[in-house]
């Protein structure tokens, strides 16, 4: 236990280094802006800005990206409350009570509650993260290739079982991501694979950033253009120091629900696919259930703003746990962070804790600092962020397109990748219109090479005997869980049908 405190202390000191601290502050501010803009969430910000982080060393880079992730979770609330449009899908639940509060002229109250709740959620989850990460990582050190593969299977299974999207389309999305990851040189035999039209651009494979920027940059902007054709109105926010203090004192009203929501959010966040959006919805439901006055929810209850905000922040930290300790990202954003770490030459997984302790603990330390930084920046500059929301989309959109094009070019410096990115953007947009989930594909392209390698290594070690995945205890449990998760939607549908039949009979 002592060693954890020592390591954490060193990590916090690392995060307070001038460069890292600057990165935290810039990252939080960018995150707040990105989160506040309707249509853009943490995943878009991280995908579009990842190429720029090659400017700084890996630790500073991941701290910057984690700060964006963090800030975006706070920022989502700003547009949920002032515009009544969730700034990101993770802030959907915040609209339920945030909008009525803003309409009643209490936007400042809602915004303060959101910021304070986010802070509480962040703090609780970071503490949980610090406690859980090292034991989980040392446990995961025992994992061999079969366990790794079973774990990835489990990650994909959660998307199918808990993602809530159309099942065949989710599976399709996962599989195409995995196939795209196989393009290029085969890591084991060294042979070129799936080189379409013998284009040399395919030889180095498809960088995950090309898919991520295409889908989350170009595709998402097209989607936003389509969905935000209508005019939007911004609710006025009156804020001064004295009202702020008054609003802060109110925090005891919702401290209970936020604590509960934070713990819940953290654990939901650790599950791949579940993530921040369902966590915030569940937390909202829980707050309503335990409230003394459940009827006031949806009509402007401050707890209804605080609970989901605490949960989505906690979930964002939670989703970093499996990424750092197991190398399995818990959300599309962490999938991109994971891809980034691979580019920086770091192999996420249990070994990270022993091989690069300064990196891991620097990141954990930065979460503590980012939490404070975001709270302060958020409370101090709320009026400014609200002003940014009124920025015309026709200025924002071209800037983002340009960053996408240049960002897609930067990692490999070939136009081939930029064209591919454009293609993925358009196809992603069209598929999204037909309800094909895109997040699993991004997760799959990042995990693809790792999954294939662990599969082939396991099969090689077992002489082609597939039962190796079931007979080894840990991988056996993972496979069992995966099977249960995949069959869960089918079972629940069957039970629903049965209940309906017995109801009519």
């Amino acid at each position: 236990m002592d060693s954890i405190f020592a390591l954490l202390g060193a990590g916090i000191l690392e995060a307070l280094q001038p460069l890292n601290l600057t990165m935290i502050i810039i990252g939080c501010t960018v995150g707040l802006l990105v989160g506040a803009m309707p249509g853009l969430g943490s995943v878009n910000g991280v995908a579009i800005l990842l190429p720029i982080t090659f400017l700084v060393p890996p630790t500073a880079a991941i701290i910057f990206l984690a700060a964006i992730y963090y800030g975006a979770m706070y920022g989502g609330a700003i547009s949920s409350i002032t515009l009544g449009i969730p700034g990101a899908s993770t802030a959907v639940a915040t609209v339920f009570d945030g909008r009525p509060l803003a309409q009643a002229g209490k936007a400042d109250k809602a915004l303060t509650a959101a910021a304070v709740a986010s802070f509480i959620g962040g703090t609780i989850s970071v503490v949980l993260f610090t406690l859980f990460a090292p034991p989980l990582a040392s446990f995961a050190l025992k994992f061999g290739p079969p366990e790794e593969f079973a774990l990835m299977l489990l990650a994909f299974a959660t998307f199918i079982g808990l993602g809530g999207d159309d099942i065949p389309k989710t599976i399709f999305s996962i599989l195409i991501g995995l196939v795209l990851a196989t393009i290029g040189l085969d890591i084991i035999s060294g042979k070129p694979r799936l080189i379409f039209g013998d284009l040399p651009g395919f030889m180095h494979g498809i960088n995950f950033l090309v898919l991520a920027i295409g889908i989350y940059g170009i595709g998402e902007m097209l989607w936003t253009l389509e969905s935000s054709q209508g005019k939007i109105t911004v609710h006025k926010v009156k804020m001064s120091f004295s009202t702020l203090v008054g609003n802060l004192k109110q925090a005891k009203e919702y401290i209970g629900t936020t604590t509960l929501g934070s713990v819940l959010g953290y654990f939901v966040g650790t599950l791949p696919a579940a993530g921040a959006t369902p966590a915030s919805l569940m937390s909202y439901g829980l707050a309503k259930t335990f409230s003394k006055d459940p009827d006031s929810f949806g009509k402007g209850n401050v707890s209804g703003v605080a609970a989901p905000e605490a949960a989505n922040n906690a979930a964002s930290t939670g989703s970093m746990l499996p990424m750092i300790t197991l190398g399995i990202p818990g959300s599309p954003t962490t999938a991109i962070l994971l891809g980034g770490m691979i580019i920086w030459g770091l192999r996420p997984g249990p070994l990270l804790f022993t091989e690069h302790p300064d990196f891991v603990w620097g990141l954990i330390g930065s979460l503590y600092i980012a939490n404070f930084a975001t709270l302060l920046i958020n409370l101090a500059f709320i009026p400014l962020f609200v002003k940014v929301l009124t920025m015309p989309f026709t200025i924002l959109a071209p800037i983002i397109y340009i960053l996408c094009v240049v960002g897609g070019y930067a990692p490999t410096q070939t136009m081939h990748d930029v064209w591919l990115m454009f293609l993925f953007g358009i196809v992603g947009y069209l598929l999204r219109k037909l309800n094909y989930p895109v997040a699993p594909a991004v997760l799959a392209i990042v995990l693809g090479p790792l999954a294939e390698r662990s599969l082939r290594q396991s099969l090689l070690a077992s002489q082609g005997d597939v039962t190796t995945f079931v007979t080894r205890p840990i991988s056996g449990i993972c496979v069992l869980l995966a099977v249960l998760l995949i069959s869960y939607p089918l079972i629940s549908k069957y039970r629903k049908r049965k209940r309906a039949e017995s109801g009519t009979a």
Binding site: P51, Q229, Y401
Partner: protein
């Protein structure tokens, strides 16, 4: 085209792509190689096979009307959507084609001018300012800070003096590069934009407007406290 038609069409196209991928993987070794484990084509082959199955699954569900999309008779793309999304997509396409032949900087100027003026209908002052500053910023960020040369196509040679400036060993060398228009013009343009906005900010009528706004705020606050009192 209705959403219903699009759903079927897309599923069929994706199924064909899956078959294509299976054929492509089949060219490689998809079986077991002694001492080497599964061949390099095995993993993509079975994944593509899975894709094919999910597409067929979607098509079956379409016929049985099980997905909301297969029952949705709305237009897949309304006319407004086609215009809004199409114009943006074409603008990016233009940017990419331009980048291949004219280099990224010229294309950026054209793209920004088109997007800000034609689509956004912003004032000339704002349009020109952003059109000048964004490519300048991109250049500083990527070429100077990240040292990633962006594609310049036919304008490649014209940029040599700019690199002389970036990698200048001494101040005199740096100043000497100013004799090239490619160095001087962008710098002057950015300077002009800065001067324009600073002067705009300090224009007498704008200062008066800001002062009036402040007074109004103070009055409103006073009225508010009186009300409470």
């Amino acid at each position: 085209m209705t959403v219903r038609t699009a759903e079927l069409l897309v599923a069929i196209v994706l199924a064909l792509c899956s078959i294509g991928l299976m054929i492509k993987s089949f060219e490689l070794h998809i079986g077991w190689i002694e001492d080497k484990g599964p061949g390099s084509g095995a993993w993509p082959f079975w994944l593509s096979f899975g894709m094919l199955i999910t597409c067929i699954w979607t098509i079956v569900r379409w016929f049985r009307g099980m997905t909301p999309e297969s029952r949705n008779l709305d237009l897949f793309m309304t006319k407004d959507t086609v215009v809004v999304v199409g114009v943006s997509a074409l603008a990016i396409l233009g940017l990419l084609v331009g980048t291949m032949y004219l280099g990224i900087y010229i294309s950026l100027l054209g793209f920004l001018l088109f997007y800000l003026k034609v689509i956004g209908r912003h004032t000339w002052a704002l349009t020109l300012s952003l059109t000048i500053c964004i490519p300048f910023f991109i250049f500083c960020l990527f070429e100077v800070a990240l040292t990633i040369p962006l594609p310049k196509a036919i304008t490649d040679e014209a940029f040599y003096p700019v690199y002389d400036l970036i990698y200048a060993q001494s101040l005199t060398e740096a100043v000497a590069t100013l004799r090239y228009p490619i160095v001087l013009v962008p710098l002057l343009a950015v300077l002009a934009v800065l001067i324009y906005w600073v002067r705009y900010w300090f224009k007498p009528e704008r200062r008066a407007a800001r002062k009036a706004a402040r007074n109004l705020k103070r009055l409103a606050k006073q009225a508010g406290t009186e009300e409470q009192g």
